[in-house]
Subunit: 127 residues, 3 copies
Amino acid sequence: MPRKLISSGSDFEKEMAYSRAVVQGDWIFVSGTTGFDYETMTIAEDVTEQAEQAFKNIISALAKVDASLADVVRVNYILPDANDFASCWPVLRKYLGDIRPAATMISAGLADTRMKIEIEVTALREK
Amino acid sequence: MPRKLISSGSDFEKEMAYSRAVVQGDWIFVSGTTGFDYETMTIAEDVTEQAEQAFKNIISALAKVDASLADVVRVNYILPDANDFASCWPVLRKYLGDIRPAATMISAGLADTRMKIEIEVTALREK
Amino acid sequence: MPRKLISSGSDFEKEMAYSRAVVQGDWIFVSGTTGFDYETMTIAEDVTEQAEQAFKNIISALAKVDASLADVVRVNYILPDANDFASCWPVLRKYLGDIRPAATMISAGLADTRMKIEIEVTALREK
């Protein structure tokens, strides 16, 4: 598959010159994804709800190219507060329990202080 | 293409056992790149100028293997101060506006307190 | 090679829904790896010893799929204290001096305050 850009339609993507996801060959590179509901442009205060919504956003991006979480090979979690991570584990098990990608969690700041978790995934389709 | 290492000639690369970029097959993995001008070993104080120089350094590394920013599929921005990011957006649009890779921005510390932005890219040539 | 999951046997992997490494095709995606000795579940206080153990853990994961550090194309170092990095350079030279992958170092928090360094590698076998 030749290079293809997936947009979620947000203005941020133009302003910051990025795509929600880039598809090339068997690969899907998804941008760091937060808990914003892109339809309402709202974000929950609770980190667990944010993690839920982030996975929904990622699933939605992957679905646009007929891919799914089952194709995810690497996931990077970024949380401003490392203590928030444990409350997200049930969400991780729900979405990735059978997939079990390579994962790294770090505690770092994000673009907006309302964001409590950002999730970046890379997917590779099996041939 | 068999594995090939690209050096910018800096002593740091030997000391820390890394390359400016690694090329293998259709892939180019570029190391985290800052706003240092490697010829003069100086760095601007302004974050926008640093972003400009970082892109020039990345373009220079990619050019050594006949690649360009158009091949970039993923970019990771690291800034010690998240508030600095917005002033870099015009630079991002200038260099990546038509390319729009997958992107993630985090706020984290860097090796040297003079560094205000570090940019890591991964490129994948289309066959 | 079809997708294959490598486990180090730690309970954390089930709890957080990840694998020590994912192998697919020529690729090996290794999770962020710390200085924990998984057999004794102890961790040294010294960052240099932690870096040593982290590399041993990575080598062990790669060995399970007949790969080695020589296949590493990208490495990401995460340290809570950037000032700790220089004391790890001899370890980096020992393990990666001839390999010289693309590398990025950031200073960010980790899951456990005892962890002073986490190392994430991606490997790509040459055909």
